[in-house]
């Protein structure tokens, strides 16, 4: 058993990746146990998750839909999650904890909706403008948190939480006063020309919701990877993240660095906001802080704060959240069960450092044993 574990998780090559996958498998197994306990068939439930997210064919489809349209829907839901988890990952690399992603998302989504979404600008201008506004708004909120941190020594977790609530209530006030849709009790749908998701596109006799920014999310992940691994800025961010005093001793300006990191993180959160509220949703629900910002923390962790890892982690978590709707309708289980499984996966992922240390201790044990035999 020990040897098997060492073989599975030991060694240096892609160790963190293997450990992440190991946590996912453990989480899914624990979820299967829960499903068995409440008398459901875990295999069928997990199949439903894949079917609901367009990775396996369903038994029947509504008109103009098939597995492929479901899959495109999955990508649409996943796009903001990629940006949000990247935002958390960048801050983590810089030793900062960005719990304000939700607030930044709401702010950018709201500003973009009001300035562009309800205007009559043509699509070629409106769509890039929405992205730009998202970046600027997010970066502004992010740098505010960074500024409070280095100027006034305010813990970024606290200021971000305060700002989350302030933004949520202010935006709720404006939506309820000026932009509310009388039927849905949410903000009015934004215009098609500004929306980052092309809704109900007819092709090949099917109807698609095409996420325009998906490609951008993938590109962003690789840009962040390049920035972190190949540029001075990335090096400085990581140095500050590893040890603030050592970085300061090496001549890095800590204050400016904190500001830049939060600005970058905020810009990514802003992109998450516009792709969520002006893309996937098309509307903003007042009075609720989007849970995606908090989930993104865990997703970034599952992806080991690695930009490419974030893509895969977002993919996995989105499969569970999207697929859970179908699972709940097919099996009659509560939709919250999917969140329970997600949380369990993330709990195992939080232990990844422990797994790594445990395996390396086992490795040494085995090494010592084999030497004593000789």
């Amino acid at each position: 058993m020990k040897r098997f574990l060492v073989k599975l998780l030991g060694g240096k090559e892609y160790q963190m990746l293997r450990i992440s996958i190991f946590s996912i498998v453990l989480g899914l197994l624990a979820g299967a146990v829960i499903l068995l306990l409440i008398g459901e068939n875990p295999l069928a439930a997990y199949m439903n998750l894949l079917q609901g997210s367009g990775l396996l064919p369903k038994r029947s489809y509504a008109g103009k839909q098939n597995m492929f349209t479901d899959f495109v829907q999955l990508l649409d839901a996943m796009t903001p999650m990629v940006f949000a988890s990247l935002s958390v990952a960048v801050a983590l690399k810089g030793g900062l904890f960005n719990i304000g992603v939700s607030g930044m998302m709401m702010a950018s989504g709201f500003v973009a909706s009001v300035l562009v979404g309800y205007s009559s600008l043509a699509a070629p201008i409106a769509k890039p403008l929405v992205l730009l506004i998202g970046i600027v708004t997010g970066a502004f909120v992010g740098s505010l948190i960074g500024w409070l941190k280095y100027k006034f020594n305010i813990n970024e977790v606290v200021s971000a939480i305060m700002i989350n609530y302030i933004l949520m209530y202010v935006i709720t006030f404006f939506i309820n006063s000026y932009y509310v849709d009388a039927v849905s009790r949410q903000s009015k749908l934004i215009g098609e020309s500004a929306r980052l998701t092309l809704v109900d596109v007819r092709a090949m006799g099917l109807k698609f919701n095409i996420p325009l920014a998906f490609v951008l999310a993938i590109i962003a992940a690789f840009v962040i990877r390049f920035l972190m691994d190949r540029t001075t800025l990335g090096y400085e961010i990581k140095a500050v993240g590893l040890s603030r005093s050592a970085a300061s001793y090496a001549g890095i300006n800590i204050g400016r660095n904190i500001l830049t990191t939060m600005m970058l993180s905020g810009a990514l959160a802003g992109l998450a906001g516009v792709t969520y509220f002006c893309g996937y949703m098309g509307t903003i629900q007042p009075g609720v802080i989007p849970s995606m910002g908090f989930n993104a923390i865990a997703v970034a962790l599952l992806g080991n704060s690695n930009p490419v890892g974030c893509i895969f982690a977002s993919f996995l978590i989105t499969i569970i959240t999207r697929g859970s709707i179908y699972m709940s309708s097919q099996q009659g289980v509560e939709i919250e069960l999917a969140d329970v499984i997600t949380a369990i996966i993330l709990i195992f992922a939080a232990c990844s450092e422990f797994f790594r240390m445990y395996v390396s201790r086992l490795e040494q044990e085995i090494l010592a044993n084999s030497q004593s035999v000789e």
Binding site: V157, M162, I166, Y169, D339, V340, L346
Partner: protein, 320 residues
Amino acid sequence: MIDTIIIEGLAFALPMFIMAIGGIFSEKSGITNLAIEGLQGFGAFAGAFAAVITMGMVSAGSQIPYYVSFIAAVLGGMLYALLHVMLCIRFKANQVISGVVVNMLAMALTSFLTKRINEALFGAKSDKFILDTSMRFTVPGISKIPVLGAVIKSVYPFEIIILVVAFIAWFVMYKTPYGMHLRACGDNPQAADAAGIDVYKVRTWAVIFSGGLSAIGGMSYAYSISANFSPSIYLGFGYLAIAALIFGNWSILPTFGACLLFGFARSGGQVLIQHLGMPSTYNDLVRTLPYVVTLLLLVFFSKNNRSPRALGEIYDKGKR
């Protein structure tokens, strides 16, 4: 008008205070605790469940379910805190991340279980445990004193419970050997260890207490805000409690001040809206008051803020 501000302000501030004390216990011992939000929710779930069960056994109007619910909440909160203990101490997880996932699980698990239990026991698909509305009492006579008398006017029983527990917590923290050990573990665990203190054990109990204390806060909100338990208990008051304790510089008395400030800013704003006869949408603007005030005050007072020195660091016996 001032009476309402004081009455409602205290009813909001005291549960937050007890949650913040929970946070102080955990953080003073060196374990960052963002899990307060989940702990209070899980505690409220356990308490509300116990209340619903006992409500079926006693006659209507009985006060027994009320007190049973608080005991069950404390036990539930302590039990659930073990998860944070396990992740942070046994599995050496990043404490901030552990807090976030503990919250996520609490939210998912309690709403899942509430639906399941409601369906199994009462045959109703509901995500709520409906509680009796809490009684409130007024001390006769001296409550007639203008302004100050409002402190003892229509008081929730939980406010008394909280004050008593808070005093005990203060005593434990500052007047007992355990409290001193706890504070030592948060500032210099190596030295504490050298002095013969079992750092892991002290921290484990600190986090468990933190769970129990937070649960009292959660249960109080379940009674005072909505008179039921539902997923809407996760309004972020746990996070607000963390802000209060940081604002209070990780000490119990200044934190009490911070919580009172939150409470009065909140109730004051609401009374103002009613008084000026503004439309109810303005309530949302007023709700930002506690947060704005905190942020502004932090700007002035954070310079001297000093967290426990070993806060958030994973304690490794082998590393000196």
